[in-house]
Symmetry: D3
Subunit: 107 residues, 6 copies
Amino acid sequence: MKEEVFYAKGVKYIKEEYPEIYESLVKLNEAVYTGKVLDYKTQKLIALGITAAKSDDRAIRQQIKSAIEEFGVTKDEIMDVLRVVLLTSGNPPFMKAVKILHEVLEE
Amino acid sequence: MKEEVFYAKGVKYIKEEYPEIYESLVKLNEAVYTGKVLDYKTQKLIALGITAAKSDDRAIRQQIKSAIEEFGVTKDEIMDVLRVVLLTSGNPPFMKAVKILHEVLEE
Amino acid sequence: MKEEVFYAKGVKYIKEEYPEIYESLVKLNEAVYTGKVLDYKTQKLIALGITAAKSDDRAIRQQIKSAIEEFGVTKDEIMDVLRVVLLTSGNPPFMKAVKILHEVLEE
Amino acid sequence: MKEEVFYAKGVKYIKEEYPEIYESLVKLNEAVYTGKVLDYKTQKLIALGITAAKSDDRAIRQQIKSAIEEFGVTKDEIMDVLRVVLLTSGNPPFMKAVKILHEVLEE
Amino acid sequence: MKEEVFYAKGVKYIKEEYPEIYESLVKLNEAVYTGKVLDYKTQKLIALGITAAKSDDRAIRQQIKSAIEEFGVTKDEIMDVLRVVLLTSGNPPFMKAVKILHEVLEE
Amino acid sequence: MKEEVFYAKGVKYIKEEYPEIYESLVKLNEAVYTGKVLDYKTQKLIALGITAAKSDDRAIRQQIKSAIEEFGVTKDEIMDVLRVVLLTSGNPPFMKAVKILHEVLEE
């Protein structure tokens, strides 16, 4: 199953059956992505860096896809994020994210 | 002991006694912080986000200090990083980093 | 391969080839799940919360399945555990666990 | 500095200077701690388990204190949570939390 | 896709498109695996222990494979590493690594 | 408070008040540190590597001390473990452990 579908289904499920959680997530997202000082794209790159540092396959793939599709983030920008992952979190999460980036670009 | 001293001593120790590690770290830092696509300040904010997400007191304090002192990063810019930490990593690492930021600003 | 089979095989393998580890695990499980003050079901929900917070796909699926099959834990009880995961560990592990819960319920 | 003061200051700081984050946290807390199916105390024990599994000194101490002071959670109940931490997360986070529990009880 | 191919492709990709990162990784590897005091095989077992403690499926599989193929590490040696994972990191990462070891040996 | 005292008190507390947990820990330790294939010292170095990778100050200090005092592990052997931490887990846990090692050696 495609990752977008995986996550979209999760969100739909929450929205329908647990609307009070859904609303708190919407409110939280609004309070997080304000674009007040840092722009939204920079915040998304930070989210991508944090996600890659945690080595979570599915979440990395989803973050990379949404960074490219929603913000037009380039391959080199993502690699600049992943360089920081290499330094702060080691080679295994770096190589994993590099490989997922490569797969996403070839899809 | 002040955090800067804590880390400066660690680096000094490595440089004197394990020069081959020191050199590889210098080379790694150069390959990471290239300022090619993303600027160095943005990469530092990504490093700060990853560090805060890991809830490591000492490392967070050091990252916040160096972001402020070396890059003139503002309180609101750091808070915009920490907003992403709240969403991706939960309330405990967020509150910890907020409190450390507050302490650093009052020193 | 089904998750139950995955784990059952691992346990079988340990039991046959490394009986001293198997025995220590049995003893450890007995010392952990005593049902003395908190009942066993509550302890299982705590185990589920910890597992979900760590974003480990396979372990989450197995914990959700065993909570449902062995203890008759309901969907809403699991969601009450996952709410805590959202607050303490952020949105990515929460959404992942919600989606796995949804998949398990549809199987 | 006492942990309660540490966290209380962090919350006060957020409330005054970043009210939109504060409000989203209030809303999130309401959506998390509903007491709908599992009671609030059980959810707090789950939060304690997750926090202890992450080995974060300050957060563990705060969780233990608030569990005792706000919910009248007993030492044996906390130990039943920590048993699960031992099994799911290993001996170091378990021993750390046991020791912090012991310190809190002696204060 | 086989794990070796997964990682080999990642390395190839870095080497071709980001040679400065590749060179820093080569340099880093040389500074890490010196075989000066501990031999290379012991260092690889330490890397395997760290990787298994982090519960990262793909990285565990790759580490186990390379330990066996490059260093002739035996099943019992790997199990002695995983025993330490059980004690320091809990049952879920232990059982996961045991199962992956078993799968690798049967391939 | 000294770290040894911190941990010794925790163990004493468990032994007196929760003997069934204490016994399961003894049994677990026996099943883990068998010295069957890898010797006990190598297993201790693996435990040190895993602990350092998790950036837990107290546990790192205790592991380094016990490695030196109980097994006569040398500074260079510990540095060979920490090199692997640098590669697998990044610069922050590496620098932290280097600094703690340095402090322990100067005490």
